[in-house]
C-alpha cells in the first residue's frame, strides 16, 4: 500500500499486530449496510478490493471482477467491532488462552481489533515483554492486537514502569487492570508522566479496603446469600478520585468496566467539565443483575466488578445512549474448569465474552427496544478512538473491517464449542438471536462461520 494512502486512511494493520494474510476481494451482495459513522443505513453491494473498502454499489450492481461474491440478501454488514479490554493470558496462563485462540474468538465475535491487558504472569512491564508479544501476534493473531503495558512495575502499585521505552516498543497504552492503583500519589505521577510518554491509561477502579475480599455486589442478594459484598462505592469513590486527578493534571484516562450508577454519574460530570476521560461497559453488566448470582454459578456469574442492581444496569444503558459510555468492552477473561468448579467464593473472577458480545446485546438490549441497532454498532466499535486508533468504518478507501451478521439466526451458546480455549462464557447455554457469519479484519477474512456456505460467482 502506498504511503500516501496510509496518511489518508490510517489502518489498524499499521498500528497493531496481526498475522499477514491474503487481502480480501469480496462482494457482499445486497447486504443491509449500517454504518452510523458514515450515515449509511440501506441495502448495498459492499465491494472490498485489496483489503480496502472499494465502495458501496447499488444492490446487485457491483461487478464481481474476480472477487468472491457473498449472497448477503437479508444479512447485515456493519463496521467490525473493536474491543479495548481482552485478557489473552499470555505469557504465563496459556492453558486458559493464548494469542492465537483469543484472536480467533475475537474474529468469531465480529471484532477487527482488540487490546490485550497486561496482567499476565509475569506482567507486561518491560519493552522486551511488549516486543515478544508483538512477535507472537505477527505470527498467529487472526485480528490485529495491541498490547497494553502495566502502569506500575509488576503491578505492585508503587513504582512506574519505563513508560517512554514501553511506548517506543509499541505499547498502545497502560493499565494495571485486574488491580487498582490504590496509591493516589502513584496515580498522580503516572498521569503527569503521560504528558511525556503519551498513551491512554486504562483504569480498573476499585478500593480494596471497601471490597474487603467480597465476591459479589453488596446488597439484598448478598445479604440473602451470606456472601461478602463488594459495595458500589468501592468503584465509584475511585472513579471520582481519578476524575479529579485527571482534571488536575490535564491527563487522559479510560475507565474500564463501569458497573455502578454512581460511577457513570462521575464520568458524566467529568466529561461535562471537560476532563479527558473515556469509559467502557461490559456486555454482562449491561444484560445481567446480581439477581442472577442467586444461582451461585461461579462459571457464568462471578466477575469483578460484580453484577450490580437493575438501577445500575439502567444507568449503564443510559450512559451508552448519551455517550457517557462510548464503548462496549468484553473484559474477556478466560479460566479453566478447575478454577471455576469450586464454590462461588473460591472461584476465579471473570467470564469470557468475545464470541457472544454482539449477539447477547442484540438479544437483550436491541430486540426489547432498550437501544437501537445503530447505537449498538457504534458502541461496539467505540473502543478504538480512546487509544488513538482509527474507528472501523465502511467509508470508501478505508481498510476493510467488516462484520456480516444474520440478525435472525438463533443459536445456543456453547453448543458447537468455543474458539476460545476456555468455556466460562456468561452466555453458556443461552439461546441468542443474531450471529456473526463472517469477519473481515484489517483487510483479511478472519472468520467464517463453518456452516455458512458462500456463493462464489463465476
Amino acid at each position: 500500500m502506498s504511503a500516501q494512502r496510509e496518511l489518508v486512511t490510517p489502518s489498524l494493520r499499521d498500528q497493531l499486530d496481526v498475522r499477514p494474510g491474503e487481502d480480501a476481494h469480496l462482494v457482499l451482495r445486497r447486504a443491509t449496510v449500517i454504518d452510523p459513522g458514515s450515515g449509511i443505513d440501506s441495502v448495498h453491494d459492499v465491494v472490498i478490493r485489496d483489503g480496502r473498502i472499494a465502495g458501496l454499489a447499488a444492490p446487485g450492481e457491483a461487478d464481481a471482477d474476480g472477487a468472491e461474491v457473498v449472497e448477503a440478501e437479508g444479512l447485515h454488514a456493519f463496521p467490525a467491532f473493536f474491543d479495548p479490554h481482552v485478557h489473552l493470558r499470555t505469557p504465563g496462563h496459556e492453558h486458559k488462552e493464548d494469542v492465537e485462540t483469543g484472536t480467533r474468538a475475537a474474529a468469531a465475535g465480529g471484532y477487527c481489533g482488540i487490546l490485550a491487558m497486561a496482567n499476565t504472569q509475569p506482567p507486561v512491564s518491560t519493552a522486551a515483554d511488549v516486543s515478544a508479544l508483538r512477535e507472537q501476534a505477527r505470527a498467529g493473531a487472526s485480528v490485529p492486537v495491541g498490547f497494553l503495558a502495566t502502569v506500575t512495575k509488576d503491578m505492585a502499585g508503587d513504582e512506574l514502569t519505563e513508560m517512554v521505552e514501553l511506548r517506543e516498543a509499541g505499547a498502545i497504552g497502560f493499565s494495571d487492570d485486574g488491580l487498582p492503583i490504590t496509591d493516589a500519589g502513584v496515580m498522580r505521577r503516572a498521569l503527569q508522566y503521560q504528558l511525556l510518554c503519551g498513551g491512554n491509561i486504562a483504569l480498573h477502579e476499585e478500593d480494596p479496603r471497601l471490597s474487603m475480599g467480597g465476591a459479589m455486589h453488596e446488597g439484598p442478594v448478598s445479604a440473602a446469600l451470606g456472601i461478602g459484598g463488594i459495595p458500589s462505592v468501592s468503584e465509584s469513590t475511585m472513579v471520582a478520585r481519578d476524575c479529579a486527578l485527571a482534571a488536575h493534571e490535564g491527563a487522559r484516562i479510560h475507565v474500564q468496566h463501569l458497573s455502578a450508577a454512581e460511577s457513570v454519574e462521575s464520568v458524566r460530570a467529568a466529561k461535562a467539565a471537560g476532563v479527558r476521560i473515556s469509559a467502557e461497559a461490559s456486555p454482562h453488566h449491561l444484560c445481567l443483575t446480581d439477581e442472577e448470582v442467586r444461582s451461585l454459578d461461579p462459571h457464568t456469574m462471578k466477575m469483578n466488578p460484580p453484577l450490580r442492581e437493575e438501577r445500575d444496569r439502567q444507568a449503564l444503558i443510559e450512559g451508552l445512549r448519551d455517550g457517557t459510555v462510548e464503548c462496549i468492552a468484553t473484559d474477556h477473561a478466560p479460566h479453566q474448569p478447575e478454577e471455576k468448579d469450586v464454590p462461588f467464593e473460591q472461584a476465579a473472577f471473570g467470564v469470557t465474552g468475545l464470541e457472544t458480545a454482539f449477539a447477547a446485546l442484540h438479544t437483550e438490549l436491541v430486540l426489547p427496544g432498550a437501544i437501537d441497532l445503530g447505537l449498538l454498532i457504534e458502541r461496539m466499535a467505540g473502543g478504538a478512538e480512546p487509544f488513538d486508533l482509527p474507528r472501523p468504518t465502511l467509508a470508501p478507501g478505508a481498510e476493510a473491517n467488516v462484520v456480516l451478521c444474520d440478525l435472525d439466526a438463533e443459536w445456543t451458546v456453547g453448543e458447537d464449542g468455543y474458539e476460545s480455549r476456555s468455556a466460562n462464557s456468561w452466555c453458556a447455554g443461552r439461546t441468542l438471536t443474531g450471529r456473526v457469519l463472517m469477519t473481515v479484519a484489517a483487510g483479511q477474512v478472519a472468520f467464517r462461520l463453518r456452516s455458512f456456505s458462500l456463493g462464489v460467482a463465476s
Partner: protein
C-alpha cells in the same frame, strides 16, 4: 425431597412434615434400644470441611440410630489437606454409592455444587455464611414444643448477623412459620439489605422486651479478618444478653458454641429460660427426621413403637 440444601427451598408444610417426623423419633430416643432399622444397609457419608461438635456428632448419631453405615471424613487428616479439590473428593466418596452425603463447607453454595456432582442425596450442614437448614429446623422444632406454634411470635436474633448462616436460615424459617423477626446488632455486623428478607432491623437492644424469644448468635471471631467492633468488651456492654436484659417470660436460644461472657452472660446461659440444652437434644431427632425424609421417602410410615416400621430401601435406589 431429594436434597436439603436450604431452608429457602422448603415450604411451611414441608418444614412441618419434618418436625412431625422428628416428634416420632423423640419417642424412639426414650426406648432402651434407641435404634430403628430404616436405613439398614445404606451408607451415609459425613464430610466436614470445618470444625463442628454439635452438627457433626448429631448427624453421625442420627445416621447410626437409623442403622445406616456411616463414613465420617474431616478435612483435617484427609486428602483435602493434600490439596484434593471438593469435586474430586466427592467423586471419590461417591464411588461407595452412598445414599446421602452430609456436607459442611466454609463457602456458600458448596452443598448445592456437590448435589450436582453425586447421585446421593445431599444435606447442607452449613455452607459458609449462607445457610444452615438443619439448625433452623431444630430451632423451629424446639420452639414449637415450647410455644405450640410460632404464628405471631416475636423473635429477636441478636449479634453477629453478618457472619452467621444460622441467622439467615433461622430468619427465613421463623418467618415461614409465621413469626415476626427482628435482627439486632451493631451496624457493622448487620448485612446491608437484610430487611428484604422480611425482618425488622434494630441497631440496639431497645425494644427487645417485646420479644417472646431472644436468639443470641455467637461472635464469629474465626470469620472476622478485621475488627468489626472496637472491642468485645464494648460489644458485651451494648449487646450481651444477661439476666438484667432478659425478661423472665422470655425464652433464650443460642446455636452454640457459646462465648461465655461475650454474647451471653453465664447466668443467662444457665437460667431456666435457656433452651440451649433442648436445642442440642432436638438436633438429634431433627437430623434423624431429615435423613429419613430424604432417604426413606416422605410418604413412608412412621416407625412403630416396636421398632419395625418401614422396610429398608434396597441399596442403590434413590429416594
Amino acid at each position: 425431597m431429594k436434597h436439603l440444601l436450604s431452608i429457602e427451598q422448603l415450604s411451611r408444610a414441608e418444614i412441618e412434615a419434618i418436625l412431625d417426623r422428628a416428634e416420632s423419633f423423640a419417642e424412639v430416643g426414650r426406648r432402651d434400644i434407641k435404634k430403628v432399622p430404616t436405613l439398614r444397609g445404606r451408607t451415609v457419608v459425613s464430610l466436614f470441611y470445618e470444625s463442628s461438635t454439635r452438627t457433626s456428632s448429631s448427624f453421625d448419631l442420627a445416621a447410626k440410630r437409623l442403622s445406616a453405615d456411616l463414613v465420617s471424613v474431616k478435612a483435617t487428616g484427609s486428602s483435602v489437606e493434600k490439596g484434593e479439590s471438593l469435586k474430586d473428593t466427592v467423586a471419590t466418596l461417591s464411588a461407595y454409592d452412598p445414599a446421602a452425603i452430609v456436607i459442611r463447607h466454609p463457602y456458600a453454595g458448596a452443598a448445592q455444587m456437590v448435589a450436582g456432582w453425586t447421585a446421593a442425596s445431599v444435606v447442607n450442614a452449613g455452607d459458609g455464611k449462607h445457610e444452615h437448614p438443619s439448625q433452623a429446623l431444630l430451632d423451629v422444632y424446639t420452639l414449637r414444643r415450647r410455644l405450640g406454634s410460632l404464628e405471631g411470635a416475636r423473635i429477636w436474633i441478636v449479634g453477629d448477623v453478618l457472619h452467621s448462616r444460622v441467622a439467615r436460615s433461622n430468619l427465613i424459617a421463623f418467618t415461614k412459620m409465621g413469626a415476626e423477626v427482628t435482627v439486632c446488632g451493631p451496624p457493622t455486623l448487620i448485612p446491608r439489605g437484610i430487611e428484604e428478607l422480611g425482618c425488622e432491623v434494630s441497631y440496639s437492644l431497645d425494644g427487645i422486651e417485646e420479644a417472646e424469644v431472644v436468639y443470641a448468635l455467637r461472635m464469629q471471631r474465626e470469620r472476622m479478618s478485621e475488627s468489626f467492633v472496637p472491642s468485645l468488651r464494648e460489644y458485651a456492654a451494648c449487646f450481651q444478653i444477661d439476666s438484667r436484659r432478659l425478661h423472665p417470660r422470655q425464652l433464650l436460644m443460642h446455636p452454640g458454641p457459646v462465648n461465655r461472657g461475650v454474647e451471653l452472660s453465664g447466668e443467662a446461659i444457665d437460667s431456666p429460660q435457656s433452651l440451649i440444652a433442648e436445642q442440642v437434644a432436638a438436633g438429634l431427632v431433627v437430623r434423624m427426621a431429615i435423613l429419613y425424609e430424604l432417604l426413606a421417602g416422605g410418604d413412608a410410615a412412621t416407625p412403630s413403637a416396636e421398632g419395625e416400621g418401614t422396610q429398608p430401601t434396597p441399596i442403590g435406589t434413590s429416594a
